[in-house]
Amino acid sequence: MKRIVVDPPVSEARRERVERQLFQQLAAVRVADRAEAVIPPPKKSRAAMWWGAAACAAAVVATVLFITRDGATGGQLAQPSRVVTPVDSESTFTIGHEAVVVAKRDTSVEWHQGRDGSITLQLARGAVDCQVEPRHGRPPFKVVSGDITVVVVGTRFTVTRTPSPRVDVAHGKVRVEAPGGTWFVEAGESWTPISVTAIEEPDQASDPGLQASGPAPEIEMDPIKVSRAKKAAAPPAPESDSGRSLKREARSPSSPIAPPETRELAKEAYRAAQHLENTDPKLAAANYRAIALGKDDGWAATALVALAELDLKQNEPQAALDALDEHARRFPRSAMREDAAWFRIEALRSMGKRDEARGAAADYLREFPDGVYVKPAARLVK
């Protein structure tokens, strides 16, 4: 069998995107590691060891007595326990008869039981999949992931901290407490704060309806059901299910984000648009268009090229060409010129304009003789 030649897609923009996301994730992991590192280990001394041994013996005696009296509740631990999983495997553990927890790959999670019987999982990194008994009258069960707290109403859900915070509910209902509000997330729904910044911040300036109702979390699965349990200061929404109306407004391409005012906002919005590409390409495109109208030329140029790439993925070559024309007109010296030139060739090919694509490829070779697309461009010219 001959060698099957598959050329990987080579794009400086793609490499930069991967690099940026990678180092953001690494920074998040380092922060989590540092947080773990600053927890002082217990000091060991001979006296403490003796006291510890005595305490253990007392605990064993107490446990044995307790089991003898009521064997059903003897398995609960009061001391914090930490579970750390390696990069390539998961670990399943049970917490008394209350929960079965799967710590996903590369996860660090610590759990402890309060005096009142409440159970708290502290997620330092990674993700946990929890199956919890319904809490009818039982002590609370919480998962804390950074500044996000998930309180179980019942019964099965996944909390992810790295690479990005996320809550997925398989059965029952949980309450998510995060900066900016509290949300109930029900079976079949997901919650992530990733796009809140991008949708919320520019909207505060432009969309009074959204501004009045406060930030909306990104709910990725349909049917969209979000009820807001807190936010008493916010005025009542026109519908009883305010999250639902918020979601519709936020997702509609006719109400994109406002053009970002600063470079930081543009960067955040760009990052959010990238995340949205897979889940909601129309909203991602609307966000790219808004960034293109922003004050930061660098991000505006990048957003136009990203928009063209997205249009190509969506099989809309004419829209891609429009974005590329605008890019060429407004940013003739943009750093994204090379990628833009290649996407133009791709768009023309998709439209079946072979001669124009060949001409564009020849232009590309003249302008970027050492470019990353030289090989496929040369093939086209031939």
Binding site: M1, V5, P9, E19, L22, R379
Partner: protein
């Protein structure tokens, strides 16, 4: 052919770079990423055939690389060690995903297709069928065969990065090849792609 490393690093370079990365030198980490990215990206993409998944898996690979660097003893070349991690990450992805449908963004060019748009479309169709046939194989056979037939590695290199014996790697490749050729008998587009060299 196929691999795009411009400069082959010396072990001394590797040792210095690794030491700087472990010490937390961000510039060194970025340098390592930029040096290794083209090869890792190419290998990951060739193994799964989807640019979208490839980006995620490349990120996952480098996160594992940077977290594992303090444990890198230098017994093998750094590039080989990174390739092993990349292959392991892709292997887990393939195994977890099962026989999911093949993504439509599989692109690529086939040698000697003449460069016309029709030929390109035909070649892409062949590649889609090829990746669909690969998806029917066991993750072990698929990984070994893709490394051999698409990424252009020798059997001993395949054995090295999949951490199996030479014989095991050879058997996996042989079995995978047999299955692919069996499918090619009923599929002229696939047959044209995988036809034997004369």
């Amino acid at each position: 052919m196929g691999l795009s490393i411009v400069e082959r690093p010396t072990p001394e370079d590797d040792a210095e770079l690794v030491a700087a990365c472990v010490a937390g030198d961000m510039a060194a980490q970025r340098a390592l990423f930029r040096r290794e990215y083209p090869r890792v990206n190419a290998t990951v993409y060739r193994l799964i055939g989807s640019a979208r998944d490839a980006d995620d898996l490349v990120q996952e690979t480098f996160i594992a690389v940077f977290r594992g660097l303090p444990r890198f003893r230098g017994d093998s070349k750094l590039a080989t060690w990174i390739d092993r991690i990349a292959v392991r990450v892709v292997f887990h992805h393939i195994r977890d995903r099962g026989r999911a449908p093949i993504p439509l963004d599989v692109i690529g060019d086939v040698e000697g297709n003449g460069g016309s748009t029709d030929a390109q479309a035909h070649a892409r169709d062949g590649l889609r069928r090829f990746y669909a046939a690969l998806a029917e194989l066991t993750p072990e056979a698929r990984t070994a065969f893709a490394l051999f037939a698409i990424d252009g590695r020798s059997i001993s290199e395949v054995a090295q990065v999949t951490q199996t014996s030479f014989v095991a790697a050879k058997c996996r490749i042989w079995r995978a090849r047999r299955e692919i050729m069996k499918k090619a008998k009923d599929d002229p587009v696939l047959a044209e792609l995988v036809k034997e060299d004369r």
